[in-house]
């Protein structure tokens, strides 16, 4: 068994040995690096990591430098999860044959991918990994847009958001489809642990990551990652935006155990109106024009309905 890393406070956590270096080319204010560092800091175990093509990959390994002090694979856009699954399957096979030099090291297999590489092009590959039951963790850095290729919409882009391929203007309010519910889809795979996390709630996040690393089987983590460039807010406001995301309940933090047992892991003391979350980001600016204001009301209703549903699911224990 691996030892669980004890994290007492934020200072200790932020100064503990980094396996993901701060020196990278991500935009100032990008939440990706915060999330990745927290994931890697949650354990002292060996790590086998992959990153699908995306902002994280292109900005953290520019020859001759790397931000990763761990085994790291960059593969295609769609198959980071599968590469990690292959490594994990071989690790198991070598272990079964008694051919591991240090069989007690218990490395953790983690794939990182954006929402495009998880919700869209990588979807069937992740589904395959979860159906086969690899002992791995897939972390989505969910910034709700293809940020690396110029801000096109993905199936994670929420209603009303303006993206390059769903632009808002005179005839359109931007993205017209609601965000794909990946949490429910991955829970339906029977995953032992599925959780939505946000780096502003770092203790909550570390707890979820540590739990995910301890359970056997494929674990899905959806990490909300505010994108200063495409969400259009000032780089110094990242944590404020993350706070708005969790405290307006646009991104409720919850976990689903064994595909059924749902627990809400964070209840904001003061729930903030969704309008404030929308107003803080340029991608929703047009929603405040008279013709689209009805969408703000719909947003609030949708968020309320989801929160209501999550609470009922938690209560029902099914």
């Amino acid at each position: 068994m691996s030892e669980i890393k004890k994290v007492k406070n934020l200072k200790e956590f932020s100064t503990s040995a980094d396996r993901f270096e701060g020196a990278n080319l991500l935009c100032p204010g990008c939440a990706h690096s915060i999330i990745v560092r927290e994931v890697l800091n949650a354990t002292n175990d060996d790590l086998v990591l992959s990153a699908s093509t995306g902002c994280l990959e292109v900005c953290t390994a520019v020859y001759p430098y790397t931000s990763w002090d761990a085994s790291w694979i960059h593969i295609g856009f769609e198959n980071g999860s599968t590469a990690v699954a292959g490594a994990e399957a071989m690790y198991k096979a070598l272990g079964n044959k008694g051919r591991l030099k240090q069989p007690d090291r218990n490395p953790k297999f983690v794939s990182f991918a954006g929402d495009g590489a998880s919700y869209d092009i990588g979807f069937q590959w992740i589904s395959g990994c979860f159906e086969r039951g690899h002992n791995m963790m897939h972390v989505v850095l969910d910034n709700e847009v293809y940020a690396n290729t110029g801000g096109q919409r993905s199936s994670s882009t929420p209603i009303g958001s303006s993206a390059t391929t769903s632009p808002a203007g005179r005839v359109s309010y931007g993205e017209k489809k609601n965000k794909k519910d990946m949490m429910a889809i991955m829970a339906a795979h029977g995953s032992p642990y599925v959780a939505q996390v946000s780096p502003n709630k770092w203790k909550n996040m570390v707890k979820a990551i540590q739990h995910g690393m301890e359970v056997e089987g494929p674990v899905f983590i959806n990490a909300v990652s505010a994108c200063t460039t495409e969400w259009k807010f000032a780089p110094e406001d990242t944590m404020a935006i993350q706070d708005l995301a969790t405290d307006t309940l646009v991104f409720p933090l919850y976990e689903i155990i064994d595909g059924t047992e749902l627990n809400i892991t964070y209840r904001p003391k003061n729930v903030i109106p969704v309008e404030e979350y929308l107003a803080a980001q340029g991608r929703f600016k047009h929603l405040f024009k008279d013709q689209y204001k009805y969408l703000i009301k719909e947003w609030q209703e949708r968020v309320d309905a989801k929160w209501d549903y999550l609470q009922k699911r938690e209560e029902a224990r099914v």
């Binding site: 295609g76 856009f77 690396n148 290729t149 110029g150 096109q152 199936s155 390059t164 391929t165 769903s166």
Partner: protein
């Protein structure tokens, strides 16, 4: 003539819409994404549809499906996207579904050099998928050609009932400048409309084509029921393993392009290549795509220094202008400089045609362009 200030990618999208395209299915990929951005704006404005699909395979599949309804359809991507689309490109070849595939080339293999220029998909455009078939591939050498050759790609796709590749490279795709393009009326007057067989629906045989002729596929929703498959098929479209039928099919698929190209010295009336100062030249530079822009300058500089240089620039890459290349091989002997941004993919085709390899190559595959000065220096070495 119209004067526009635009980028190569925007011009390709504009050309598609003005050539009559009504459907785009694609997926974001650098350096081609602007074609989708433009299409998402321009297609709905003319009653067409632009869909960003969930991946590259879905992008081309939707475009193939849309094409079966009778509309001109296209997709745009870069090398890694073509790799993913490869299986469906094969379906396009065997089922004879017209489609334009724009590839804005970047460095490869795999993720390669996403933001840097390359011409390393020349070989991929010839044989993108398994099996026997013949590819039609055009390559834009200027902003104007990003427009005119894309229009031509649509016309060729509809004429020959086949996927057609339109190659741009990162430099030309992102190049921003003035271009002169033909008037819209002129383009529309020459747009090819897909052939339709207005027979009784009961008598309709979609794949009952003569040797070296394309199938006549009637649009969906018109009352003609037929079978479309990636399997070998007979005249009805239903699968067949009949030896004669399979042989006839393959010979027809290859012949409708390669044989027709050879017999008619081209697939249409438009030029398959451009020649600059070649009549009195003593040395011939062969270059295509954005590299040809540097080659024009190299020719001028060499002539200013008293070396009579000329340029041969292929526009239709596949099928290659075999007859003319044979003549050039015979005329210039070893005084030929082939310059391209790969490890010699088009040079191999020239070797194959002129049956010699005594010419000089100036190749680069590091994501950087080839400067005119490098070409000038290389030619001086040869003289």
């Amino acid at each position: 003539m119209r004067e526009v200030i635009s980028t190569g990618n925007q011009l390709a999208a504009k050309a598609a819409v003005e050539a009559g395209a009504m459907f785009f299915g694609g997926y974001p990929i650098t350096p081609s994404s602007e074609i989708m951005h433009e299409s998402s704006d321009m297609l709905p404005a003319v009653g067409g549809t632009c869909i960003q699909m969930e991946d590259e395979i879905a992008g081309i599949s939707a475009a193939l499906g849309a094409s079966m309804t009778g509309v001109k359809s296209f997709t745009a991507t870069s090398g890694p996207g073509i790799s993913l689309k490869a299986e469906q490109i094969g379906l396009g070849f065997i089922a004879e579904i017209p489609l334009v595939i724009i590839n804005v080339m970047r460095g490869g293999p795999s993720t390669g050099l996403p933001t840097r220029v390359s011409q390393a998909d020349i070989g991929q455009a010839q044989y993108p998928t398994h099996g026997d078939y013949a590819s039609i591939t055009l390559c834009a050498g200027s902003l104007t050609e990003c427009y005119t050759e894309t229009v031509r790609a649509f016309n060729l796709a509809e004429t020959y009932m086949t996927p057609v590749f339109m190659l741009l490279d990162e430099t030309i795709g992102h190049m921003h400048g003035k271009a002169e393009i033909p008037d819209l009326e002129e383009i529309q007057a020459n747009n090819v409309t897909r052939a339709t067989n207005y027979c009784e629906p009961a008598d309709y045989l979609p794949y009952d084509a003569e040797m070296n002729k394309p199938a006549v596929l009637n649009p969906m929703f018109k009352g003609y029921k037929y079978h479309v498959t990636g399997l070998h098929h007979g005249p009805t479209g239903f699968p067949s393993e009949d030896a004669y039928q399979c042989e006839f099919n393959i010979e027809r698929l290859v012949g409708k392009i390669n044989t027709v190209h050879l017999e008619n010295n081209g697939l249409d009336d438009l030029p398959d290549y451009e020649e600059v100062d070649l009549e009195d030249a003593e040395v011939c530079i062969i270059a295509y795509g954005s590299i040809a822009l540097g080659a024009y300058e190299a020719v001028q500089k060499l002539r200013a220094e008293g070396i009579k240089a000329g340029l041969f620039r292929p526009i239709m890459i596949w099928p290659s202008p075999i007859n003319r290349l044979e003549e050039i091989g015979a005329k210039f002997k070893d005084k030929i400089l082939v310059t391209e941004l790969n490890m010699g993919q088009y040079s191999r085709e020239i070797e194959r045609i002129i049956k010699r390899n005594d010419f000089t190559k100036l190749l680069k595959a590091n994501g950087r362009p080839i400067a005119p000065a490098e070409m000038v220096a290389k030619v001086k070495e040869m003289m």
